[in-house]
Amino acid sequence: MTLAAEETESVISPAGRQLRQGNKAPRPARRWMTLIRREPLAAACLAGIALLVLIALLAPALAPYDPNNNDVLNRLKGPSATFWLGTDELGRDLFSRLLYGARTAVETSFQSVGMALLIGVPLGLLIGYLGGWWDRVAMRVTDIAQSIPSLIFAFAVIAILGRGVNQTAIAVGIVFSIIMLRIARGLMLRERELLYVDAARVGGLSTPRILFREILPNVAGPLIVEAALLLGSAIMLITMLSFLGLGLEASTPDWGSMLDEARKYQVLHPFMALPPGLAIMAAVLLFNFTGDSLRDALMGRRRVAHRKLRQDRRARNAPKAKAPVQDADTVLTVQGLRVSYLSESGKPMEVLSDISLDLHRGETVGLVGESGSGKSTTGMAMVGLLPDTASSSGHVWLGDTDMLTAPAAEAAKRRGPEIAMVFQDPIGSLSPVHTVGQQLIEPMQHHLGLGKEEATRRVIELLEMVGIPNAAQRINDYPHQFSGGMAQRAMIAMALSCRPKMLVADEPTSALDVTVQAQVLKLLGRLSTEFDMAVLLVTHDLGVVSEACDRVVVMYAGEIVEVGKVADVLAKPRHPYTYALLKATPRNEAPAGRLPTIPGTVPPPWDFPRGCRFAPRCAFVKEACTIAPVALVDGVRCVRAGELSLEVGA
């Protein structure tokens, strides 16, 4: 069977689809168009900048008077029909000066930022790319400039070059070049780590080509953002300089010096301060907004959902359901759990459908499936910690508490003494700026009401039990001083510190080396017996299931497709997916020809097939499979379960 033909069902995001209508690639111009359509704010800002530039260019045509035309008879007049914004101490028309001021502002700020782009960016990229001594020396040198604020650095340059429009632009340009150099270098350092740069080198491309053709397009976005923000700073700096009487010659119409004049007539003629101040503010705001909205657009705006600190509201609105009658052994019951996330386009997509499951004391249940099948979401639902962007229905009964709808404080009380969780990345699960001990004693303080000393003593005991040498000293260490394996042991110790009835372990060994994995699995097995708890072991590795679990739940595309005793399921799977997964898992055996594969890939949640979700990849698919969703009957979700005989050869 050819593998690729079926793999054509590509995994592209909905946004990506929108972009790629037909078979045409999105060319840059098209991309900008879509950007404008999707980012009206950014587009508006760009339009605003265009307007500002236009005013600057057309100032001579727009201004009613020569900005330097003295008219002593009409000095310090308020706004009137003749002089729209009034006049200054020399009787010059303030409106005309304001328009010409825009010209000065645009000219000087574009000049200085242009200079920064021309000098700072190439130098920064080069230094970042070369690294080593080049980098260290350049950074030291630019550090001097960093220890002196931009404005004061500009003072020094003006002291040397003298005053004037060009001098001011150059002064600010030098300061900005240094800033841009550092930014470009930072971007390059980050980009250099990406493998495509290595791939380009291995591909034999020359250094300039790699720098300008490969890397520059990738850092151009962030650089443009910085340039927009610098334009704002430039206007601020330049007006400050001329306010101080340092920047431009007195005759140059400029917002900063207009404010300086206004300062002198603060008492007599306070209105004078308003127009130039507002003009500066508007221009800076414009550039800042442009920068920010471009940044958001580039990053693919992350809509931060309103973070609910209290989930009580949801709980109050949910209809009261009654806990099912559980036998003494049952620790947790999942009933008809459904979870949807808000997709980027704002539509909900269901990632978990109709999950039902019981967990019993003393058993270890493997939850297995490929990435994206919904394992982690199931685990988080069990501890009542679905993200705020998720909506859910169904129940997760822990005793008679529904963890899905219980008030936050209520659910928090259960986590620790009744249910606990460990994660894939143990070091990331610990706050980097608190000692491990500080965090480990927390559950015992909150749930068992122990004092600090007693809790610490018990934590040390627990750590010794999970095999951490020197526990008494190690609790004063910070997470980054732990190895992955040791940290995971510590996390397990903490999870068990309040003797929970159930432990959810989400890929607890996936980030660990095999030898360490074997130890941690052994530890988990020992502890589950010792504490007589239910363990849900989430993993993508059937080998781990085989080594460590009593029962197994196989998930595919948000559904449970098969449940059963490990010995039964692994010996004689009943679902074609389980069977295919088993066959595809590399065995530590001598190679025997081609490896069995599953054609295609797991579909994304917005692309789940209507009927059996595995149908497009299933070797046993029949017409009947694709008509309607398939129910989980007797532990297997397959219309052909009865007729198929899926033997796994030894």
């Binding site: 001097i144 220890s147 002291a159 340092l246 101040g277 809509r303 620790g416 969780m421 980097p432 980054h480």
Partner: protein, 314 residues
Amino acid sequence: MPRLIALRIAMSLLSLFLAASFAFSLVHLSPTDPAILALGDGASEAQRLKLTQELGLDRPILVQLATWFMRVLGGDLGQSIFAHKPVTSMIGDAIPVTLSLLIAASVIAVILGITIGIYAGLRSGSWVDRLVTSGVSASLAIPSFWLALLLAYFFAVKLRILPVAGYTTYAESPSRWVIGLLLPSFALSVHGAAVIARHMRGAVIDVLDSAFINAARARGTPMRVVISRYVFKNALVSVMPIIGIEVAVLLAISTVIEKVFVLPGLGTLMVNAVITSDFPLLQGTILVTATILITVNLMIDIVMGLLDSRIRPQ
């Protein structure tokens, strides 16, 4: 920790050395003859030659740098050309003004910024957050000197409850010292508060998203503790460097604030030095500015070391 402090002090001394070299080089970067710069425009050729000899301007540049350093280390920053006074004493008079202003404004900025940032970050997406975010954007775009003018007009000219301008030393009258600083330091603090609030908000949102917050909640730690213990400290650690940068920015902005409120501080000296091409004074003020900022950053580095073990050398 002692190693970190020693290391940081060494780094600071290096920065200080580099900044001082920069200040020294100013005179030589200028196209005008340093002797003329030192004497002012009206000097005669004979005076020029004499001074060139005296200052050793005809000697190799490194020798000049060394002599200049010896002088500076001995506390001699030269004579101001314009004021005909020792630069050291002029700076000595100006430093209390600028430092009081800078410290007051920084404290206000840090307290306001952190409080507002946390408040908005914890409620990201809500209307409060949107209000704060817009307020911050606006504050970042307001030119501080314009804000200062408006404040001065409103409180001093209109309401007449605060002095318009001028500086009273603490020794003269502590209460008037405080009252005189109220408006300037508030006007100065707005930019800092906005920047710090913005970063603090972002940091809080990022920290709330991180795995260890999830893990802390998974072990049943009440949200209130999660926030006060983990969110606060982690967000603070990532905002500390911003505070350092912002103090430098405030020091720069203080020059315009000093001008609006007619405060005889470092900024005023510096501006006068540039206008009158008073290079000894300019060198002195830049050196002092750099020293202040390097010290601030040293303190921040040390606080960072206390907060975050990852940056302590092993």
